[in-house]
């Protein structure tokens, strides 16, 4: 099956900042995670895929269409759901009114069927009981679900989610994880996040961006395996460790090149990610 999104050598510059420096990525059906530190270019890449920004160079094909072409861009937008990093809501709108407003902007007609669709997506994010409430009166987690409902309008083939779980408490995060998991059935979802647990739990594929470049692309287990043999426990922080922290039981979890005799433990995706990004930062510093 051909990928939903094909990005080739995409570049983007803002004034003196090179946000993307030749990014090549493919996104296919299922949930693809996008990891990277702040300023890595994740949001820029997502905004390009959401057809909000145009790249300076390279090519993007979404659903086999070219977003640079105005007609194609409109067709892509009909099959696209986008949840920005910090969704905002106009004052005075109830949940139903806001989602209905977005539905009108997505040109869903006629009114009766549009309202059916609005009710469907509100039910999908489990907000039917508060659909008459003002959006501003809801908690942060509920507001994110309202924004996700708006993104799900029209049953999009591509869902672009920019840090949807940022600032949510653990229960809200798990709830959101369940929603994204459901949303990823039968469609492509690109999920940008800082939460490596979310990527490990949800994604079949993960892309690590760093300073506008792709550092890694593969499965979450492949990323975790990058740290195989590089994670060990010791009573104290090992000076050879790149990163180390004291765990709850008093032992130190060390990441880096282990000393002789150290017993390696099974690495997590977070270990692989930290080692990958940390190594690149050390190279840059050297």
């Amino acid at each position: 099956m051909s990928p939903t999104v094909v990005v080739r050598d995409v570049t983007k510059r803002f004034a003196h900042t090179q946000a993307l420096a030749g990014v090549t990525v493919e996104v296919s059906t299922g949930v693809t995670g996008l990891l990277g530190p702040n300023g890595a270019g994740k949001t820029t890449l997502l905004r390009i895929l959401a057809t909000v920004l145009g790249p300076d160079g390279g090519s993007v094909r979404t659903l086999g269409l070219d977003p640079a072409d105005a007609r194609d861009r409109t067709r892509i937008r009909r099959s696209l759901g986008y949840l920005p990093q910090e969704p905002g809501f106009q004052r005075g709108f109830s949940v139903f009114e806001f989602v209905d407003y977005v539905a009108i902007l997505k040109e869903l007609t006629p009114a009766r069927r549009r309202h059916d669709e609005v009710r469907r997506v509100i039910a999908a994010v489990d907000l039917t009981s508060v659909s008459g409430k003002r959006v501003r009166a809801l908690s942060g987690g509920m507001r994110r679900r309202v924004a996700l409902a708006a993104a799900l309008l029209g049953d999009p083939q591509l869902l672009v989610l920019d840090e949807p779980t940022a600032g949510l408490d653990p229960e809200q995060r798990l709830r959101f994880r369940e929603l994204v998991s459901k949303a990823g059935e039968g469609r492509a979802v690109l999920l940008s996040t800082h939460q490596t647990e979310d990527v490990a739990a949800l994604c079949h594929d993960v892309v690590v961006l760093h300073e506008g470049r792709v550092l890694f692309r593969g499965s979450p287990s492949d990323l975790a395996q990058r740290a195989a043999g590089h994670v060990w426990f010791a009573e104290d922080r090992d000076p050879r460790a790149r990163i180390a922290w004291r765990t709850g039981d008093g032992a130190h979890r060390n990441l880096g090149d282990p000393p002789a005799g150290a017993v390696s433990v099974t690495p997590t995706l977070e270990d692989g990610y930290l080692l990958l990004v940390g190594a690149r930062d050390e190279e840059a510093a050297a």
Binding site: L80, Y82, F89, I104, K106, L108, T109, R114, A123, G154
Partner: protein, 280 residues
């Protein structure tokens, strides 16, 4: 915790941008938002309490003349300004609340959204004003007035309606082009203080229209002949031209496909300039 994904086929309901349906639907929605703006409730409530009740209680019950004066004064003195404020606030609300980030990737272009807001001005406050103007016309033709009140001619009622449309589309235009927090106040000052500065009080009837375009008044302005120079009719056409110019300015904000809107704007500008020259 249960999450239900309802099994329907919503792709079927995705419409086409070539139809007017979504534009009209959005226009109606924006009309509702503008009309329900707290600006109207606050201002009309304040004026009603401070002036309306006072004038009514003098004679126990409001006479037709009282109602006529009150509605007329509200529409002339406040209709345009309040509609400007309401339309500006609705237009800029997505930017002020960061909701525009979600709306950027919608199928409907920013030009269509601007057009829908202009439609909202017509469908909403202008429609309400039209009803009130009809009420004024009916009262004016049936009631007996004392010497203090002069019934307004039909053409002047149309002009009042155009002032309200003009205020609204000017608000949409200002919020579309001046995307910074002070633009609301800036436009308000231009409307509220700028035009009276250019106002040349010359003849009687026009001094009831001190907002928007009174600076083009002249000695022959009160001539009611339909096509004569200096007639009210030319002034009406001029006000309509100003409204259309504001709509063109909204349409010109988006760079894509600007060419034909530039041509249209040129034609509207020429016609408005012609009407402006003919009315004085």
């Amino acid at each position: 915790m249960t999450v239900e994904m309802v099994d329907v086929h919503p792709r079927e309901v995705v419409g086409s941008s070539r139809t007017a349906g979504p534009l009209l639907a959005l226009g109606r929605r924006e009309a509702r938002r503008i009309v329900l703006s707290p600006v109207y409730a606050l201002a009309f409530g304040l004026v009603f309490v401070t002036t309306g009740i006072g004038s009514f209680t003098e004679d126990a019950l409001p006479t037709a003349e009282h109602v006529y004066e009150f509605i007329g004064l509200m529409l002339v003195m406040m209709g345009g300004l309040l509609t400007y404020l309401a339309a500006h606030l609705v237009t800029s609300s997505a930017r002020r609340t960061n909701a525009d980030r979600q709306l950027e990737s919608s199928t409907m272009s920013s030009r269509s959204r601007g057009g829908a807001l202009c439609l909202g001005v017509v469908f909403g406050p202008s429609a309400v004003a039209a009803v009130l103007l009809v009420v004024l016309a009916v009262i004016g033709s049936n009631a007996t007035f004392s010497g203090d009140t002069t019934p307004v001619a039909v053409v002047e009622l149309v002009q009042i309606g155009l002032l309200i449309v003009g205020g609204g589309v000017f608000g949409v235009m200002t919020a579309t082009w001046l995307r910074f927090p002070g633009s609301l106040l800036l436009g308000f000052l231009v409307l509220g203080f700028g035009t009276p500065q250019m106002y040349q009080p010359t003849v009687g009837p026009v001094d009831t229209l001190p907002w928007f375009a009174p600076f083009v008044t002249g000695p022959g302005f009160a001539d009611d002949s339909w096509v004569n120079l200096g007639s009210q009719s030319w002034h009406t056409a001029y006000l309509a031209g100003l409204c259309c110019l504001a709509v063109c300015a909204v349409m010109l904000h988006r760079r894509v496909g600007r060419g034909r809107w530039l041509l249209a704007s040129g034609a509207v500008f020429a016609a408005t300039a012609f009407f402006g020259w003919m009315q004085v």
